[in-house]
Symmetry: C2
Amino acid sequence: MPPESFRYETVRQNVLDQIESGALRPGDKVPSLRRLAERMRVSLSTVALAYGQLEGEGIIEARPKSGFFVRAAATALPPPTARPSAATAPESLDRASLIRKVLDTMARQDILPLGVARTAEDLLPLAPLNRILAQVLREEGNLAGYYAPVQGFEPLRRQIVLRALESGAESSVGETIVTSGAMEALHIALRCVTRAGDAVVIASPTYYCFLQLLENLGLRVIEIPSRPGEGVRPADVARVAERFRVAACVLTPNFNNPDGALTPDEAKAEIVDILSARNIPLIEDDIYGDMHYGPTRPRCCKAFDRKGLVLTCSSFSKTIAPGYRVGWLLPGRFLDRAVEIKGTTSVASASPTQMAVAEYLRSGCYHKHLKRLRPAVKAHMEHMHELVGRFFPPGTRATRPTGGSVMWIELPGGADGAQFMHRALARGIGVAPGVLFSSRGSFRGFIRVGCCVPRGPQLSAAVQTLGGIAGELEDCVGDSPATGPFGNPVGPEDA
Amino acid sequence: MPPESFRYETVRQNVLDQIESGALRPGDKVPSLRRLAERMRVSLSTVALAYGQLEGEGIIEARPKSGFFVRAAATALPPPTARPSAATAPESLDRASLIRKVLDTMARQDILPLGVARTAEDLLPLAPLNRILAQVLREEGNLAGYYAPVQGFEPLRRQIVLRALESGAESSVGETIVTSGAMEALHIALRCVTRAGDAVVIASPTYYCFLQLLENLGLRVIEIPSRPGEGVRPADVARVAERFRVAACVLTPNFNNPDGALTPDEAKAEIVDILSARNIPLIEDDIYGDMHYGPTRPRCCKAFDRKGLVLTCSSFSKTIAPGYRVGWLLPGRFLDRAVEIKGTTSVASASPTQMAVAEYLRSGCYHKHLKRLRPAVKAHMEHMHELVGRFFPPGTRATRPTGGSVMWIELPGGADGAQFMHRALARGIGVAPGVLFSSRGSFRGFIRVGCCVPRGPQLSAAVQTLGGIAGELEDCVGDSPATGPFGNPVGPEDA
């Protein structure tokens, strides 16, 4: 690398580092050309080159007679449209292989995993948790090596009951089932209340693994909109419950994946009432409930359940250790069937990890950990918002959720999210294409980005690369695809 | 306790201890009254009292002019009948609650767990395995806390591929899926190849959790006999495959649970051919394959599979650590669907336990461990056979398997296995009632007993108690229930 470009790159990186570290914030004035040249012992022209580059990248902006300022682009990102683009022919979508591509990146070291809703390792209490597990093995090794009860290790269930109280859900040790993550909980819950051929109401967009599970179980899907700013509207639930024969409703009321939408507690209560009146079970995924940015933990739907018709699924995979696979199910009145299904699908969850999590909770570590985790995740989210605002082309729209760890981005100019994913993977970055988040292949123009990855130059460079891809794809698209209304549920015609 | 009865009990226990320890074997002469009286410094009449008691219990027998001998009763137990008793009205059977009762004893410390097919803790390498897990946490803690790939930790899959070779099955890392025990493997396998309403062929008797899983999945069951001495006959498979529209066949060819039947390798090859010719998938459970008593490891059906139609399920739950929940599935041509189902039912299995088992296998520990485990389990089985022969009433019949850890006992005089279980539980002993092992409620007169529990006075006393219960129930039964033929498959009429 020739010396000149090397020096100019050093200056550019210096400014980026200051922005990353928070020393320079959106709207701040960056040092004048002269001052930085003196400080870094480089020529004025070197700094000018670097600033020119940063300006071209949209990171800083020149203001007449005032100098250069860090762009406040992040705050300028508008929220995405609530309405998905029109459904396209399902045969054109190889959902399974797309999902596999996304999930495969989970364990790959060579891919920056923005495609999965993970929590950065450095935010998880892996070291203390592993220490507790090692202690459990020393002190109760035989218990750890042996089968746990089908419903789970009792001291863990006791802690889960206490956790559930924080979200307003009342349960008991006997009514709680430990699962291998929230996904197993959802699987058991669906098997409890549905049979193949049944119709299930879900929010759209929704987490693609949920859709795949519904499909695998032979269930038909009725989609109702999740709206970034307000979540699921009770009126939408009422409408489909009246019109269709619905076996169950599956919602993520707290920070829906992917759009981060929070359904207000009052709306939850209304939805529970609407469904209860028709004896329709409600399966809720509360996996992000503990990851609220605001001061108050949002309630879960079970808090408003008077008939035992709400089945609550959750886990510690986002807050403590995904690899421990410890989740739970509060199955309400479907307890017996849920226990039977748990017993015949995995017998019991792994004992050592159950015991370690129980002790981690009992000792009060979890409570303290959450206090640190929430603002940290929030900071990651804000940082990502800023980066996307800075590097993505104008016309990009993105959510700004109040909890959880994913951002839902609408690409400008009708660019295709699946194409986006392929190009990003080729450059070592994972993203999840929007088309996966609806059973009808809607949201083709969206991507979901995991925000909880370590900050730093690697992340900035990655988002810059992604912004570049968005630009490339925008240029490729002749005209945007037709968009259609979302007024009617995209459900089965024969329901 | 008065001194006399105390002394007599001490003598009795002394003889029992010698039998337990193997110092006195079946057929051995026990010390003469005089000799034992001198050695134990008690009166002749005390020894006589003790010997009288032991004779009454069937533990020793007097031979004219020769003295007392340890009864060789164990070898005299005839094998149980292959034909189950006739099916009874299914409404009289609350299978789910019976199963729950059996499974609940798994984690109960106050019940001697003869009701579950467990391996005694002292035979499992829990200490070295836990040490390896602690080491994994120290060295690769972040990896252990994080998601494993959906298909499982790759070094573990590599070891599983090597293990499978021992049973004649050829697989590859990419074609192997780590599961949470063999039960999850079976669940995934069934979901791969069947839909609700399909008919599945199983051996009868078969492990009750398999039956419960089939029922939960809405599958119809066609039973063909498992015969204690010979396993499943290819002709029986051919007959049902011709007569019914069969979606899959589920077999445990190596040491079927509960009757321990081993289907010979030649018969396996024939069965695979019969099913392959009709493109019927064969799901095999090989969980006991590594627990053969003889010198040669029986092959698994996959060894004879040329079309990728055999799905092999297994786990380390019986040989290493049930609480680690590490099993696997070799799904043959159904790989893609199996991975999809695994991803949407538990995402991935727990990482720390996968990593520990991988290292345990890689280091060669497993191989050495099996060499010790097999003869130990065999000795447990022989000991149980001896105890049952000694303490159960005449007319009792029991299997003498060549692998695995459970014994299938036919109670004398038409006694009911479920009643037997309730009485046994009331006295702190778990057993599994035979009625659970058939979808039609056959085998009411049977119980299954786990043999792999620590030997010693507690076990002897427990089996003595069980023998007493068998006697009580025999006395209660006026006449034995009618038994019916088993010539026709007990399948759905409308299949």
